[in-house]
Amino acid sequence: MKKSEFLLIKKKYSDNIDDYIEKGGFSSLRKILSDHISPEEIIEEVKKSGLRGRGGAGFYTGLKWSFVPRDRSIKKFLICNADEGEPGTFKDRDILLYAPYLLIEGMIIASYAIGAEVSYIYLRKEYKWLLNRLEKAIGEVQEKGFLGEKILKSDFSHRIKIFMGAGAYICGEETALLESMEGKKGFPRLKPPYPATFGLFGYPTVVNNVETLANIPIIVEMGGENYAKIGIPKSTGTRLIALSGIVKKKGVYEVEHGKVTLKEIINDFGNGVKEGYHLLGVIPGGVSAPPLTYDELDISYDFESLAEKGTMTGSGAVIVFGYKEDKKGELLKILESIVHFFKDESCGKCTPCREGTWAIYGILEKIKNKEILVRDGVEMISSLNSKIKGLCACPLGESCALVSEAFLKKFEDILK
């Protein structure tokens, strides 16, 4: 295993614009504009890179961009999704803090590729303390001539604006995010149409996660094919992991896809589990990702390997959990906290999710009060999920059911 914290993105960490330029920053943008590289060619490179969205769903970025109509007369938007709200996730925060220029360069290139004159950063209100920092960074980039009218004397003009949310997990879902920007409740839209054809105020819009966009200047610099050599097929490049829970050393680490196991993440990056704690398992991609037990941690961290185990890399949040001393009961508290989160954050648009998440919470209460067996709870949740799954505008309710069912099943011995 390569224990390097400085693979791709972290190598470009710099919160000082001059230092960033010295590290080769904005050379990708300069190359595109001076060599007159066409938007189509950039989309092609991103496709070749195999880059998949780092927000949670893992959709191919180049493909997403290619769905945007090429007609230049139609207004288009790029939105940087900085609304990471999946419990356990804080990796985009570190990009916003330590690599704002890399993100901005990525946004400018992405906007050029899809033909957007204005882009927005949807910043979660919880990150209000980063607002001034970001505004300053945008101003500095503008002063250096990489943003604004006719960038580097080319025909391309671009502006970046910040839009701050007001506290709602669901707004991280791209269509709920769009509704929120339109001044409405964050209700996910029924799809299709997808944002690439019908997005913000009906205009074609691409919504990309912070980390996804931070990869773009690197892809342009290396070339898509070279980028695709990093990691493994279908999981190219690196991943920022937000490691938290009962490990000794929490933080944001960058790992190469497919080259590191979850066990190694805990031991080599996290310095192992804290004294006095019993390791039970790991939530590998934020609370929407079903957990893996202690015995399942020899698994490579990449999209495919985790999907085979019925879970996902999701938002890159690796939460290591267990219990202190002999307090096994803590485990139910953890699950309760997760379900509490889903029932609080269900936006209320779709009945199966709105009612279902509360019902699941009720089932947990019954287990806690020993009114029903864990096994009965599993059955009840599973039957509930057949009435949630695929019947809602977004996967929130379904995730709640899947995760709680997996928790109860996998840890039945401890919970009963």
Partner: protein, 150 residues
């Protein structure tokens, strides 16, 4: 020279926001609500009327939007607010004990506290936000210190 009254001040800030978003009033709604919340601590009825008039958005629509979001409130909080995260990573570090302590000592606090979902400070768990600024590695000692400072 007469100084701007707070109402004039809010009005000019609203207009600034609309200008920032190129005159798009729908896009300006949540930023306007955020600004008022952060300036006045809540969104009072008169303000909703005022926003409706300036942004030309129906009052009911504004209510609908603002009641959806956690950090927009119709009730005035007399004190500054500490949001304490009850997310899973904070829970694993004892957030429930912190919340219990705060509940038990509510009367003695010079600030108000509310529970909230993950705030992206899991590497500094248990964590909170005070006036939307990070408070890392919360413990009773830190809460007491904060209480004296406020």
């Amino acid at each position: 020279m007469k100084s701007l009254s707070s109402s004039d001040n809010i009005r000019s800030k609203i207009l600034e926001i609309i200008e920032y978003y190129n005159g798009n009033t729908a896009l300006s709604l949540i930023p306007v609500l955020n600004m008022i919340q952060d300036t006045e601590g809540y969104i009072k009825k008169e303000r909703i009327k005022e926003i409706a008039e300036i942004l030309k958005i129906n009052e009911n629509r504004i209510y609908e939007t603002l009641t959806f979001y956690h950090f927009l409130t119709l009730d005035k909080s007399e004190k500054r607010i500490l949001y304490v995260c009850r997310g899973i990573s904070c829970l694993l570090e004892g957030a429930d004990e912190i919340i219990e302590y705060l509940k038990d000592n509510r009367d003695r606090l010079n600030f108000d506290f509310r529970e909230c979902e993950c705030i992206g400070l899991c590497d500094f768990a248990p964590a909170g936000l005070f006036d939307f600024n990070p408070v890392k590695n919360l413990d009773v000692k830190k809460i007491k210190e904060l209480n004296e400072k406020v």
